[in-house]
């Protein structure tokens, strides 16, 4: 199934992105670049309060303003019941939540939650109209941090939320939406018997995905009521399901066209305003454009990443073999119920074999923006706790942290936290490679301030779900690929490489594009490290389907049986008949009027391609200011097979730098009223080129069995270890553990002063 790497001609090569030319010239079109004839502009009114009941909304004065064409509130949309879902993965996606995120109806749960929207002939009039909308709020007490929200006397955000996963069902509503337990063995005994234990509690502040392109939607409704939405989305089909459900619009009356995406990282799975733009367009019969400002993106108009409060206790015997892992993970969902913490809990413990395991997770609501996925969601938070606890345990044992990982490493066939055996994994190889690399063997150069070296591991499971695509053979014999995958990570390029490989053609012969929701088969979004793997499977199938049809035509043309033809490099050749041959170009020219050749492929249940990485970093800690400088950073990762090593390195390095940003500088700063105090990119600082060192990527390839080309997920796991790697390096530099992320100079200095 996985071809020998040495025989590959296009897959695995460092080829430039097929769409790079459009990007470097500014020709690539993002939704904000779109202007339609007669287009008008929308703005949203947002809640000024972190927790309030909405008693009444009066939009009459706004509607009366000259230049205003339409105003909408939640009353313009059908009310979805609690529990409404749209299809996604095994559990579906909470549509009631999506509706509230887009427009509050009875209550507002965070500052910045949308309340109403206006369409007007220009942005300035739309903004003026917002000030004329009168909202009667009943203010309620907000609760902003996880521990306070879990307290029995906390203000309750949702009357219908009773903690799931607790038997018997609680009688009173709570801010704890769910409890998840993953356990085996007896951790109390495992800890009691352990000669060495380590216990830590970490706090992680809410942060943002930080995509540079704010959310934008452009909507148009034609005379027959057919709506088209041009979107910046990770998944056009998920967006379509969400928009259709919010509006009560049948899917045959709606099309979502995915344009270029200016960064997403999990934050553009759910819709933010797309359905509102459609409703406004329906009302005013003009195309509508809605562009969020950066302040809106940060202040509550998009879902940031969850903060966390995590306790970990680990124990080991004298040989450094783990005897118990205990963890309590409390994740801040923001104002509406979030995801089960199951995946992040599993991820943090997956790479360690331990007989006694007890992990408990809580999904907690607070009066902050409803959080959304951010690259391996919850992984970095959980690793910040677990990998520090493991490092502290190594210090207790006086054991080399790499040797400790070797002794406890999960291998192929080991038990995963949920009890099933691991498929082929390359953790042992990764640890060997770390041990042999200069990043680990070089002694730390001395500096002005104390320096330290940290190691941390990362695991992410990813998902598979559905990908589809089809390949039409053009009249000149070249494959024209339409795929369902949105390109947020170089997918067009890697998938063109796969098709080129299958056809034995050069990359430049492949034309590839992402289809809209009415021109390609249903595909799940680009998320969960799934899109390259599953699109590869779908397009391998589509390629082979098309080549089969071409073979039948070639056989007819050359008057031989199809199995008497050899195919290589765009040419069929008969094994007999004097070796008569026909190229794809000749074949299509000769048979163009016989009808289209269309190969179809779909992947629905591909085996997982779990991701594992190990990161090593050197830091210097300025003991006068608390500033931590990352001097050197090396990321080792098993990628199965690197479809395009340049693209893989780009994913890894970008992901690491996002992790370093959260590790050291990025945090939402909320006032006591729940207002975000740093809603700009000046005050919410992300790493610049001067803040981070070069990131060295070491690619390891352990193919996934029964998956075309053996590809693993790539993009998520590299964000998992960085905060822990930095924290472990700081601990080894200055002897104190920083337990609050981001590890800002202020926090480091406070820890140094005890």
């Amino acid at each position: 199934m996985a071809p020998q790497q040495s025989s590959l001609e296009v897959v695995g090569k460092r080829l430039p992105r097929v769409d790079a030319g459009e990007r470097v010239t500014g020709a690539a079109i993002y939704p904000a670049d779109l202007t339609l004839p007669g287009m008008v502009h929308a703005k949203m009114l947002r809640s000024p309060f972190a927790h309030a009941r909405i008693r009444h909304i009066d939009t009459s004065r706004a509607e009366a303003l000259a230049g205003v064409l339409a105003v909408v509130t939640a009353a313009d949309f059908p009310e979805l019941p609690v529990g409404a879902t749209i299809p996604m993965g095994e559990t579906g996606y909470d549509m009631w939540m999506v509706a509230q995120v887009n427009l509050a109806r009875h209550k507002a749960w965070w500052v910045g939650q949308p309340i109403a929207a206006v369409a007007a002939v220009d942005v300035h009039i739309a903004e003026a109209a917002l000030t004329l909308i009168e909202v009667d709020y009943e203010r309620l007490d907000p609760v902003l941090d996880i521990a306070a929200a879990m307290a029995p006397d906390a203000p309750v955000l949702h009357d219908h939320v009773f903690t799931k996963g607790v038997e018997p069902r609680p009688r009173t509503p709570s801010n704890i939406c769910s409890r998840t337990v993953i356990a085996r063995g007896d951790t109390a005994q495992g800890l009691a018997e352990a000669p060495a234990t380590a216990q830590i509690r970490v706090t992680v502040d809410t942060a943002h995905q930080g995509y540079l392109e704010p959310q934008v939607a452009v909507a148009e409704v034609d005379a027959n009521g057919f709506a088209t939405v041009w979107a910046s989305t990770q998944g056009q089909f998920t967006a379509e399901l969400m928009i259709g459900r919010m509006l009560g619009l049948p899917l045959s009356k709606l099309k979502v066209v995915p344009l270029e995406v200016g960064g997403a990282f999990g934050g553009k799975i759910a819709i933010h305003g797309e359905a509102i733009a459609v409703r406004l367009a329906q009302k005013c019969r003009r195309p509508v454009k809605l562009v969020l400002t950066r302040e809106e993106v940060l202040q509550g108009g998009s879902g940031p990443a969850a903060g966390a409060l995590i306790d970990i206790t680990v124990g080991a015997d004298k040989e450094g073999r783990l005897t118990a892992i205990e963890g309590t993970y409390r994740m801040d969902a923001g104002g509406l119920p979030g995801l089960s913490p199951s995946l992040l809990m599993q991820a943090s413990a997956a790479l360690y074999q331990c007989p006694n395991l007890n992990l408990q997770g809580y999904d907690v609501v607070t009066n902050k923006p409803r959080t959304e996925a951010y690259r391996g969601p919850g992984g970095i938070q959980a690793a910040f706790a677990m990998e520090q606890a493991m490092d502290a345990l190594c210090q207790r044992l006086d054991m080399d942290p790499l040797e400790f990982r070797r002794r406890n490493a999960s291998v192929t066939g080991s038990t995963m936290p949920i009890g099933t055996p691991f498929p082929a994994i390359g953790l042992t190889t990764i640890l060997e490679r770390v041990g042999a690399h200069s990043c680990w063997t070089d002694s730390l150069p001395r500096g002005r301030y104390p320096r330290g070296r940290g190691l941390a591991l990362g695991y992410w499971r990813g998902t598979s779900m559905t990908s589809a695509g089809h390949i039409t053979i053009a009249g000149d014999g070249r494959p024209m690929v339409t795929m369902g995958a949105v390109d947020i990570s170089g997918t067009r390029t890697t998938m063109a490489q796969v098709v080129a490989e299958e056809f034995g053609l050069p990359l430049e012969d492949i034309h590839i594009h992402t289809g809209d929701t009415k021109s390609v088969g249903y595909s799940d979004g680009a998320a969960g490290s799934r899109v390259a793997r599953t699109s590869t499977a779908a397009l391998v199938e589509a390629s082979r389907d098309a080549l089969g049809q071409l073979r039948a035509r070639a056989a007819e043309k050359l008057q031989c049986a199809p199995d008497q033809l050899d195919y290589t490099h765009g040419r069929f050749q008969a094994r007999q008949l004097g070796g008569a041959a026909i190229t794809l170009a000749e074949l299509m020219q000769a048979t163009l009027t016989d009808g289209a050749v269309v190969g179809r492929g779909v992947s629905t249940k591909l085996p997982l391609g779990v991701e594992i990485g190990a990161h090593v970093c050197d830091v210097e800690v300025d003991t006068d200011t608390g500033l931590v400088t990352v001097l050197r950073y090396t990321a080792f990762q098993d990628v199965g097979l690197a479809l395009n090593p340049t693209a893989v390195e780009g994913q890894i390095a970008g992901s690491v730098v996002q992790g370093l940003g959260w590790a050291l500088m990025e945090a939402f700063d909320y006032g006591p009223d729940g207002r975000l105090r740093n809603a700009s990119l000046l005050d919410y600082r992300m790493p610049t080129a001067l803040d981070v060192p070069p990131i060295e990527c070491v690619i390891i390839e352990t193919p996934v069995p029964n998956v075309p080309y053996g590809v693993r997920g790539v993009g998520e796991v590299p964000i998992v270890p960085p905060a822990a790697a930095v924290a472990n390096a700081i601990a080894r530099a200055v002897g104190v553990r920083i337990l609050h992320m981001p590890m800002t100079p202020e926090r480091v200095l406070r820890a140094l002063k005890g």
């Binding site: 470097v24 670049d33 995905q209 270029e260 200016g262 960064g263 950066r294 990119l681 000046l682 080129a689």
Partner: protein, 158 residues
């Protein structure tokens, strides 16, 4: 209030009816239709809207359209010669994998051009300094730095 603004963009003269509130970014994107310059934050913190004004990198969101007359403005659309050939900085970004989502790329290209016009032999640290006003959230910066260094070598010639 709307007034006519006469300005030189990418070597051509434009006469545009602009609102007194318009920024240079709005002038370029909304009035002239040059959408290659992107808006990431609207208040000068991300560098996405970088253009060259009289050769110097400027956040177009922080300059008023009314300040444009008399200045020589270069946007990403003005960098290639129009025959399909790329500027060496653009070519190097393509070859080195220096563009991912592409949203920061036009701004990075112009910051890099301003650097290389001043300093044809920059060190990696010079390059990082020159693009420190341009946030990139995708690449981690290494491949951008490598590309600009390669473009500098290319531009200096053998």
């Amino acid at each position: 209030m709307k007034t006519l603004v006469i300005c030189a963009v990418n070597g051509g003269e434009h006469t545009v009816l602009a609102d007194s509130r318009d920024t240079l970014l709005e002038l370029l994107r909304e009035r002239i239709g040059l959408t290659g310059t992107k808006e990431g934050c609207g208040n000068g913190n991300c560098g996405t809207c970088t253009v060259l004004v009289d050769g110097a990198p400027v956040n177009a969101c922080l300059m008023l359209a009314q300040e444009a007359p008399g200045r020589d403005i270069l946007t990403i659309e003005g960098l290639s010669d129009g025959s399909g050939g790329l500027h060496p900085i653009q070519q190097a970004l393509v070859e080195h994998g220096g563009t991912q989502c592409g949203f920061c790329t036009p701004g990075i290209v112009l910051s890099a051009k301003a650097l290389l016009d001043e300093n044809p032999s920059p060190t990696p640290q010079d390059i990082r300094h020159a693009i420190a006003g341009n946030i990139c959230r995708c690449t981690g910066y290494d491949k951008i730095v490598e590309a600009i260094a390669a473009a500098a070598i290319q531009a200096r010639g053998p």
